[in-house]
Amino acid sequence: MRWAGHAFVGVVVFLVALPFIWMAYAAFIPPQLIFTGDIFSQLAFSLENFRVLSQEGFWDGFWGRLLFSALLTGGVTLLQLLTGFLAAYALKEGAPLLPFFLLLLAIPVELLLVPLYGLLAGLRLLDTLWALVLPFAASPFIVYLLFQGMRTVPEELLEAARLDGAGHRVLLTRILLPLLRPQLIAAGVLAFAAHWNLVLYPRIVAGSKELKTVQTWITDLQRQNPADWGPLSAAALAATLPLVIVYLLYERRIVETFEEGLKG
């Protein structure tokens, strides 16, 4: 029985990891081996696929799009953490807004393509950078996660600081910010992944070349040359690796945050 359990876990782990292993392997296959279809018989290593990625002009090419997406999503993440942190503080201080945020949590964002498009068109924000930023400036999920974290901060601590004459600014930056560091990191990684992984939304509201995210860039390349695995895999690996590394660094915090969220 125990032995069957180990075997079962082993098989699942292999299947879940397979696309990652393949992605890493395919990125370094020399192009001539792909063309002959001879991919497993001999081990060979080549950086040719990454060189192909750099052929276009920088900003319109893969590396430019990767940088653009990293800056864009990084900025949005910081904004979400800021608005979320402040809102969580208001909730902690007794603002009667928790039902409002919980209600928003239930709204399926994926389904709001049409009305968001209409709203952005009305505000004349279509095809601008703002269309990729403003609708994500705050997230009810992040507010909720950070509020869960703030709940664990003992009230006496804040009370004592207040008696010493500390205002909101001191409470927020000197006490709550350092105490909530772990939650902020976990929330930040999740917020980053959520925005980074938007697929259809950016295509619809910001389709122009200068605003193309790396996600859209890869998907377009896959449409145009589905058989050209080498560069595709190299792009997939380069766009995925940073996220994997950040996740592995903070994995413990992220999984724990989710577990805490489930208890609440």
Partner: protein, 277 residues
């Protein structure tokens, strides 16, 4: 200093969420009464869009596909979540395996699809050079299986976490007492563990139904609704009518219908499960 002044700190979040989440959510009702392509001047047409949906064969086809997809994905997903959570519980490798299972949900979607595509493509995929791969580019059934597997792959970490959190909440003394009373491991599982896991299973079922009624990103990335419209789930049909065909008013009405369907299914499930108790 009054504590109420702290309430103002919620203003940025409330403002942004009110404008870009709550307002569009309500506004979709207004759009749904329009004949509107996004470029043209909108023309109010009352409830005509809803009337058209009721008579739209593509809508019913899409609804059927969505329900098949939901059943095909949810049952294995929940079963796998329970089995994995049980197999992992208390093992030395529990942490690293859970971490790995969580990873597919976070990594770049476009990159993940590239890996899946080049691996499983039936014509020139890597796997096809070793074993025969079902022609999911020609068979709607296998295409749905592929989307289903991809969806399970992305969310299995969360499913395991939900069941596992519940599993850890079961008092060990309860299981020990059962063993002392002479219950076999199978009996203990059937009569103690499984009933106590119920809330977690209900939760996964409801959340999973909601998500499978609404998700379409995997379809867009892997099959684009094909072959022969065989993977055109409701969400994808919504996207296609709105932004490829350019009938935004009709797509808004579809949004409302999908929301109502979601509400109906979720409520029905919660009710059924409650009655069973």
């Amino acid at each position: 200093m009054g504590r109420r002044s702290a309430y103002w700190f919620a203003l940025p979040a409330v403002g942004f969420l009110g404008l870009f989440l709550l307002y569009p959510f309500l506004d979709v009702l207004r759009f749904s009464t329009w004949d509107w392509s996004g470029l043209s001047e909108p023309r109010p047409i009352g409830l005509e869009n809803y009337w058209d949906i009721l008579q739209d064969p593509d809508f019913y086809k899409s609804l059927r596909i969505t329900l098949v997809f939901g059943a095909m994905t949810l049952l294995p997903f929940i079963l796998l979540s329970i089995l994995l959570a049980l197999a992992l519980d208390g093992q030395p490798y529990e942490r690293p395996v859970k971490a790995l299972l969580f990873l597919p949900g976070l990594v770049t979607l476009g990159g993940a699809t590239v890996a899946w595509y080049t691996l499983f493509s039936p014509e020139y995929g890597a796997l096809a050079s070793l074993v025969p791969v079902p022609r999911w580019d020609q068979s709607p059934f296998w295409a749905l299986v592929l989307v289903s597997l991809f969806t399970i792959w992305r969310h299995i970490g969360y499913g395991v976490l939900v069941v596992s959190a519940r599993l850890k909440a079961i008092p060990k003394t309860l299981l020990e007492a059962a063993a002392v009373d002479g219950a076999s491991p199978a009996q203990t599982f059937r009569f103690i563990t499984l009933p106590l896991l119920r809330p977690a299973i209900t939760y996964l079922l409801v959340i999973g139904t909601v998500l499978s009624l609404q998700s379409y990103t995997a379809v867009f990335l892997l099959t684009r609704g094909g072959p022969f419209g065989g993977t055109e789930v409701l969400g994808y049909y919504l996207y296609k009518t709105g932004f490829e065909v350019g009938r935004l008013g009709y797509a808004a009405a579809l949004t409302v219908v999908i929301l109502l369907l979601t509400l109906f299914f979720a409520a029905a499930q919660v009710r059924l499960l409650r009655e069973e108790k």
